[in-house]
Amino acid sequence: MGKLHRKTLETGVEGLGDSYFTESLALSTPPDDPDPLDSNLLLRELQWLLQDATGDVGRSQNPDLVPLRADLGDLYGLWRERVLERRPFQYVVGCEHWRDLVLWVGEGVLIPRPETEVVVDLVREVVIGRSGRGDGEEVWADLGTGSGAIAVGMGGVVGERGRVVATDLSEVAVKVARFNVERYALKDKVQIRQGSWFEPLEDVKGKLTGLVSNPPYIPSRNLPGLQAEVGRYEPKLALDGGESGMDHLIHLCEGSVSYLKPGGFFAFETNGDEQSEFLVDFMVSKLENSFRDVKAVADFAGIKRFVTGFRS
């Protein structure tokens, strides 16, 4: 990395920056876009882009020097992709701020949603409630971990005795999740395994203290109408829940019967109200006597987003 004095760049670059970013903001509301970008949000994203693109000003010996991680032309190219191509901001900067974490994300893994932050809180409550009970190792699983967000978040809350095993079918997801686990120095606490749902978990079958998942739950017919950022860029594998949207959720509920130990906890994210109500009913009536305290839990927008309960 080299440094240039601002005087050497002064005239050219300042002018360039001005016109570039003004132009791209002006582009942010194309009149014919059915799902227009919100200019307030775009402005905030632009600030975040600059935040990520600039180094630590405070450490520079010369206060006139601002280190940049990418040259201005490249930054402008990235911003154009964001505005014109609707590439998700998180893929543009390669990260998402989620809970107190900054996670690496990129094409091929689902960008973790703010709603999903709650799953870690649900786990934390159970861990606190269990403290003092037993003294053996406690294994928690996150199925379809994607970027590893939930797994890394859980790694921080499962306590001394807890460890996390997370699975994902996608090779890219496994790579990204492993990177995020290592970034937070949780290699001994959180293990990422490649495979479909329960397949890589034979060794912990019937032994899980807890099982969580944010599986694909969007009904297939709704995929074409998704917001451009989601529909064009995020992996179908992480979104498509089959005809009713519940193919994977039902598989997970059924699997929980044999993979959770007695008293084991589960939490699944769903498409919202209707799916959650259906699942509560399914687990109580169809998988009778297997679960207790099954309930739908609302997200911060008041949508019944999660289904939680315990293995009998």
């Binding site: 990395m1 080299g2 440094k3 240039l4 760049l9 002064e10 670059v13 300042e14 920056g17 970013f21 949000l41 905030r44 994203e45 632009l46 975040w48 600059l50 935040q51 693109a53 180094g55 000003v57 206060p63 006139d64 601002v66 940049l68 991680r69 990418a70 040259d71 990235l78 901001f89 390669g94 998402e96 701020h97 989620w98 809970r99 107190d100 974490l101 690496w104 949603r113 703010p114 709603e115 999903t116 932050e117 944010n214 694909p216 969007i218 709704n222 998704l226 989601v230 995020e234 992480a238 979104l239 769903t270 498409n271 919202g272 997200d299 911060f300 927008a301 008041g302 949508i303 987003r305």
Partner: protein, 222 residues
């Protein structure tokens, strides 16, 4: 991941203009937030001691809104709206945070702000006949106060996190004497001028006192 790792520099002044503010700011005047804002909530009297509540207890008393709650949410949306608004149900006080990139952190900021607002807005009733300033109030008084003992330690200023609870107790007193700085000063063993200077040393304290004074038809402190 940043694709090109090279280092260049350009005008710091130019850049600073476009950088997000380092200090968190309250966007009460953002149009979307205008209908309910803490500044429109008038002070309420309560015997409830909200200050001693834990984070979780306080959170349980709140309704949390995330913006753009309409639509299916979850996997359907690329969510960049991480803003959080908390409404404290018992008092109606609203606090919000939008400046962070994660909802989790915005929730923590909003909760911290709610605490400050509760300190500022929720008054305890005081019996002036038997009034004795609590220790947290003594700590923020200047040394020349005649009722301040040597055991109160050095004077705590607005930048200290303990200032908020002292400020709350001071506001309780000023409300009890209907905004009269002279009467409050007498109770604290201070001259009117010395108490005025203390009130003016913190913006939020000054604004609260002046809001009360203007509601009583008194001149604001300047």
């Amino acid at each position: 991941m940043a694709r090109v790792i090279s280092l260049q520099c350009f005008s710091l002044a130019r850049l600073l203009q476009s950088r997000p503010s380092v200090r968190p700011t309250l966007l009460f005047h953002h149009p979307r937030f205008r209908p309910i804002s803490a500044s429109s909530v008038s002070s309420s009297i309560s015997d409830e001691d909200y200050v001693s509540l834990t984070e979780e207890e306080l959170m349980k008393q709140c309704e949390m809104d995330t913006f753009k709650a309409s639509g299916p949410g979850g996997q359907h949306r690329n969510k960049r709206e991480s803003a959080v608004r908390l409404r404290h149900v018992p008092t109606g006080i609203v606090s919000q945070a939008v400046e962070d990139r994660s909802q989790h952190k915005n929730r923590a900021s909003a909760l911290a702000r709610l605490r400050t607002l509760l300190d500022l807005k929720v008054r305890k009733t005081i019996d002036l006949n038997e009034y004795e300033p609590p220790p947290e109030l003594l700590q923020i008084l200047p040394k020349k106060s005649t009722i301040r003992g040597a055991d109160s330690g050095p004077q705590i200023g607005p930048n200290n996190s303990k200032f908020a609870s002292g400020m709350q107790a001071l506001l309780d007193l000023i409300f009890a004497v209907n905004g009269s700085v002279a009467d409050a000063a007498k109770n604290l063993g201070l001259s009117t001028g010395a108490l005025s200077r203390l009130i003016l040393s913190d913006d939020s304290l000054r604004m609260e006192v002046n809001e009360l004074r203007s509601s009583k038809g008194m001149r604001p402190l300047k």
